[in-house]
């Protein structure tokens, strides 16, 4: 069975599941326009963290044409993001064309010519769904997130950055915050240092947030000290994790929205995490675990990765045991360790701490070497130059400590 065959089979098995979810009581109103009442009926989160699982599934068929009452409005916006999430929406292949048949995309900076003033001109709640990807890095991000929240019935944190802060939130580990980062970027990096030395030896030129010109005042957004996840700034209805999210997740969300708009089927409960399973990634991973103990940590390029054995048994640190499943273990199937982009499982807030616990049990314990003390573990762990960046690669923004601290008596 080849790689893709395995994937197809899994899809089929999962496609059966959402059918059950659709049996939820049908809301009386079948209005194509955003009906706030139906959203209110959608129910409350049942888990402690407010995340509810909603299994991944494919749409299976093309979406139907425009609803009777006219097209709905969709906005897609990026804040501090790389653009991969926007591209991942195109992973829905031909279905992305049919999105245009039932919805107007009023804003999508990478693809559509919708401007901020167009959004401001809309009535509150005029947009049915806003997909926001990216972390909140500066004042413009926050402003746009709040604007879209005001104009939308549903806001979806799309992708890991919006959900957990993602890779941009690693900037929270810089003790000096925004000023230190800006200073480094504009005066310390070799290229900019040379430029400043050659042309602005007296006073380095750095971007200002405000400047007076004859025509008036020009402004730039203010960079924040602490990068935030989307739900630390605005209220978020649904979450789709992934870096980028798998196409099943976005298809599933679209299906839920389409069902709501055409048939009045109740939406999933607020706070639902779409496209994840209940268990961790290891549950989906086909590799075999033998509970080997490791005394040395390797990167995948340093060893010949055995295609059958668990990566952890081979000394490669994989975040699978701490990461929620739903991605069909694509990375581990390809011989790369899980980096944890889907975030922690439902009842865990600290993704990195959870990963640490799993990894700690890999070291020789009890039967092998009860004397393996703290110092020996630290020796083993020294192979990882940046433990915090490794274990919290995607979730610093939503971690408990959230950003580095500075001891007064250093």
């Amino acid at each position: 069975m080849g790689f893709f065959d395995r994937f197809k089979k899994k899809n089929k098995a999962q496609a059966a599941e959402p059918a059950k979810a659709e049996e939820a009581p049908k809301a009386a109103a079948a209005a194509p326009a955003p009906a706030k009442a139906a959203v209110a009926n959608a129910g409350q989160p049942t888990t402690k963290t407010g995340f509810n699982p909603y299994p991944a599934a494919d749409l299976g068929e093309l979406l139907p044409p425009a609803p009777a009452g006219g097209k709905i409005k969709i906005a897609i916006y990026w804040t501090a993001a790389c653009g991969g999430c926007d591209v991942s929406i195109l992973d829905t292949n031909e279905r992305v064309l049919t999105i245009a048949q039932f919805a107007d995309i009023v804003m999508w900076p990478v693809a559509v010519d919708g401007k901020e003033k167009d959004i401001e001109a809309l009535d509150d709640g005029a947009i049915t769904v806003s997909l926001i990807n990216g972390a909140i890095r500066n004042s413009e991000n926050e402003h746009m997130a709040k604007l879209l929240r005001k104009k939308s019935v549903l806001v979806v944190a799309y992708g890991t950055c919006a959900m957990f802060g993602g890779t941009p939130s690693l900037a929270n580990l810089v003790p000096g915050g925004a000023s230190e980062i800006l200073d480094y970027v504009y005066t310390k990096t070799p290229t900019s240092a040379n430029f400043q030395k050659d042309y602005h030896a007296d006073k380095p030129v750095v971007p200002q947030t405000e400047i007076q010109v004859p025509e008036g005042t020009l402004t730039l957004p203010v960079v924040y000290d602490t990068v935030k996840a989307l739900d630390q700034v605005i209220d978020v209805d649904y979450y789709i994790p992934g870096c980028p999210p798998q196409q099943e997740s976005i298809s599933h969300l679209l299906k839920a929205v389409v069902d709501f708009v055409y048939n009045g089927v109740a939406l999933p409960p607020k706070g639902a995490e779409i496209g994840v399973t209940e268990k961790c990634l290891c549950d989906e991973c086909p590799r075999k675990k033998e509970y080997a103990r490791i005394t040395k940590i390797y990167e995948p390029y340093q060893v010949n990765v055995d295609p059958e054995k668990c990566l952890m048994d081979q000394g490669i640190l994989c975040l699978g045991p701490a990461t929620v499943g739903g991605c069909n273990a694509r990375c581990t199937k390809a011989g790369q360790p899980c980096r944890g982009c889907y975030g922690p499982t439902q009842l865990v807030q600290e993704h990195g701490a959870s990963a640490l616990t799993a990894i700690a049990s890999l070291f020789p314990v009890l039967d092998d070497d009860p004397t393996c003390d703290e110092q020996q573990i630290i020796e083993i762990m020294k192979t990882i130059k940046d433990p915090l960046g490794y274990f919290y690669a995607y979730t610093v923004g939503k971690s408990l400590i959230q950003r580095t601290v500075v001891e007064e008596k250093a």
Binding site: V222, T226, V348, C372, E374, I378, T404, V405, E407
Partner: protein
């Protein structure tokens, strides 16, 4: 730091050794500074690194994890596991900017009331020397709320 700084210390004690050790210290009427709050767990291996991070994020000045001596664990190997986790979480705390001395792992058996007293006294002294947790500082709060950027705007 001001002399009147009284640290707040969260202490995790395992049910079988250290909690009994703390009882022993009490029965023996040993003098201890009242800065610590004990949370009893069944085993030191029950202490998820998340507990420690949560304690620190809520403003604890220090965290003590007390368990059975090696080879004495009620569950045979729990304290070895705890030791490995603490070693790893200490690396993380250090990278977050905390002084690693704010987290202490110590073995206290049920009969060691004296050692419990000594551990507490020493740890309170250590934390008093370190000063209050940087989590509570105004600078940290400003950083977290992006106060500077929002004011500028």
């Amino acid at each position: 730091m001001a002399d009147n700084f009284e640290p707040l210390i969260v202490t995790f004690c395992c049910n079988w050794c250290s909690y009994a050790g703390a009882d022993n210290a009490g029965v023996g009427r040993r003098q201890m500074p009242p800065n610590f709050r004990i949370i009893r767990t069944m085993c030191s291996a029950r202490i998820d690194p998340e507990f420690i991070l949560r304690a620190l994020s809520k403003g604890a000045d220090g965290v003590m994890v007390l368990g059975c001596h090696p080879a004495d664990c009620h569950y045979i190997g729990g304290n070895y596991r705890a030791r490995r986790r603490i070693a790893l979480i200490r690396l993380v705390l250090e990278q977050y900017g905390f002084d690693p001395k704010r987290l202490l792992l110590q073995w206290v058996s049920a009969s060691e009331g004296e050692k419990f007293q000594k551990t507490v006294v020493d740890f309170v002294d250590t934390i008093k020397a370190l000063g209050p947790t940087p989590i509570k500082s105004k600078k940290q709060k400003d950083m977290l709320t992006n106060a500077v950027a929002i004011k500028e705007e």
